[in-house]
Amino acid sequence: MSDSDHTHETAPVTRFKAPTRLDYTVTAAAVTADFLRHILEQRLVGRRCPVCAKVYLPPRGVCPTCAVRCHEQVEAGHAGTIDTFSVVRIPFEGQVLEPPYVCARILIDGTDAPLLHIVGEIAPEEVTLGMRVEAVWDDRPLPTLARVRYFRPEGGTP
């Protein structure tokens, strides 16, 4: 009871804190588990839809437009093109990265839909639409997309 106080018994309680905690065990389905295994090996492996032939990275268990399961695995490149981006300058609770940082949709070579990731090693105002970027791998064996620490301008910082 943050705003109520036993010394002010006559004051009405207008608000109180009721913290809630729910614990979940998140499981990676088989398609995601495959992807994470590959990313540990510093490989980006997507999946192709058997109907429309589009390649998704991260892979999708089901093609979102054709509603069929995707089994064929496709090795994607480690570089791509910035489709669009924004510069996050606002701090907020639970934020992991220090603002400002560039959040971009990157079309990885050999895939057909953009991946959301960070662009680093470049001043935010230098980033442009259509810029070529490449993955910078994290040394730590993280089984997540954070295994790619960020993307940077292809060939290093200009």
Binding site: A18, L22, D23, P64
Partner: protein
């Protein structure tokens, strides 16, 4: 009113991930789901599929059962609750499973899939579409289902106290006992019968023998209820195709109703909302009923409220052995559909939400 038919059904049967401690009998294998793959059916564990794959499996099966394709569908409606998966906007990713492209007329309820079916039925009455696809999915195994359900309670007065669902159901059970309407042995009999029936049901992954006279030796969890009086949570998904003109079992009536949440303002020995929903659905007396039970005493309350004295109740075992939050109500409609397909003249499907049978939906299905 347009006559609406259940033209096709599909489901991933409830998969109980954690075998309840009171269950005896042969050890269970991890449940597996049969999913259509490029080279025929594949057997996969529930953990191997994501939500979109679950939805793909059941909607594809329902459309195949109906003899229709995605292009025939005029309206899609689904039911799910992100809290069960612990992932905000889980329902957005699940939409991938139905292939909502080109863009479809589509809606979502944070209610059981049976309520999504209700919305689809209303939409078919509106008259601009003739085929509706309804689906629901639930993954209780990922999260603390009891705690999620406790967050349904009034956030100012009740939720901070955190009573688990069985504590509230215990109030209802005790009210029945106090009124001389039921005994603990009656509750045990409901559970034993459900598990016996489930062992024979094609779509239930559970099998256990519960010996009725030994069940009462177990300690009470929330007196007078024991652990076995509560449904076992499971993962699953289900889909139904509704058509305005068709040959499948017809919806004779469908209606829902709600009671106050507050336990102090209603008679817990009965369910006014279930009775009103049944009456609004036409009040037909069914030959067979499939109930959505979270706790065994609810069977006794619903038997009275829904006029089931003569009916065969839960021949599939119902939801006590395996309850999939957000899906069980829609699965009841599927079970009732199969009873009508199998020759029953009228079947009732029930769905409930909220503590102590607060909200109830009744669907009456008849031969076409």
């Amino acid at each position: 009113m347009r006559r609406v038919h259940v033209q096709g059904v599909g489901r991933l049967p409830p998969a109980v991930r954690n075998v309840p401690s009171y269950a005896t009998g042969p050890a269970w294998d991890e449940p597996q789901w049969s999913v259509a793959g490029p080279d025929g059916p594949e057997l996969l564990t529930p953990a191997a599929l994501d939500e979109a794959e679950m939805v793909q499996a059941v909607t594809a099966a329902a459309l195949a059962d109906a003899g229709l394709s995605r292009d025939d569908v005029g309206f899609i409606c689904s039911g799910s609750n992100d809290y069960h998966q612990g992932r905000p906007f889980s329902f957005v990713m699940a939409l991938d499973g139905v292939g909502c492209w080109p863009p479809k007329r589509e809606s979502h309820v944070e209610m059981d899939g049976a309520f999504a079916l209700y919305e689809a039925w209303v939409r078919l009455q509106h008259g601009d579409v003739d085929v509706a696809l309804v689906y629901a999915y639930g993954r209780s195994s990922l999260g603390p289902t009891d705690e999620v359900l406790s967050l349904q309670l009034d956030p100012y007065f009740l939720a901070p106290l955190g009573p688990p669902p069985i504590a509230l159901a215990g109030l209802q059970a005790q009210a029945l006992v106090d009124a001389g309407l039921a005994t603990e042995a009656d509750f045990a009999a409901v559970v034993a019968r459900a598990w016996r029936a489930a062992a024979d049901d094609l779509y239930t992954s559970v099998s256990a023998e519960l010996v009725e006279d030994r069940m009462l030796l177990h300690p009470a969890v929330a007196s007078p209820l024991r652990a076995h009086d509560q449904a076992s949570f499971a993962d699953g998904a289900a889909a139904v195709v509704l058509v305005a003109e068709g040959a499948g079992p017809a919806i004779e009536g469908i209606a829902h109703c709600i009671d106050p949440m507050d336990f102090g303002t209603r008679d817990l020995t009965t369910s006014r909302s279930a009775r009103l929903a049944h009456a609004a659905a036409g009040g037909g007396i069914p030959e067979v009923a499939e109930l959505h039970l979270r706790f065994s005493p609810e069977a006794l309350i619903l038997r009275d409220a829904l006029g089931l004295e003569e009916a065969l109740v839960d021949p599939t075992g119902g939801t006590l052995p395996s309850d999939v939050p957000m899906v069980s109500g829609l699965t009841r409609v599927i079970a009732a559909t199969e009873h009508v397909r199998g020759g029953a003249g009228r079947a009732l499907a029930h769905c409930t939400a909220g503590p102590c049978l607060q909200q109830n939906l009744v669907t009456l299905l008849v031969a076409p």
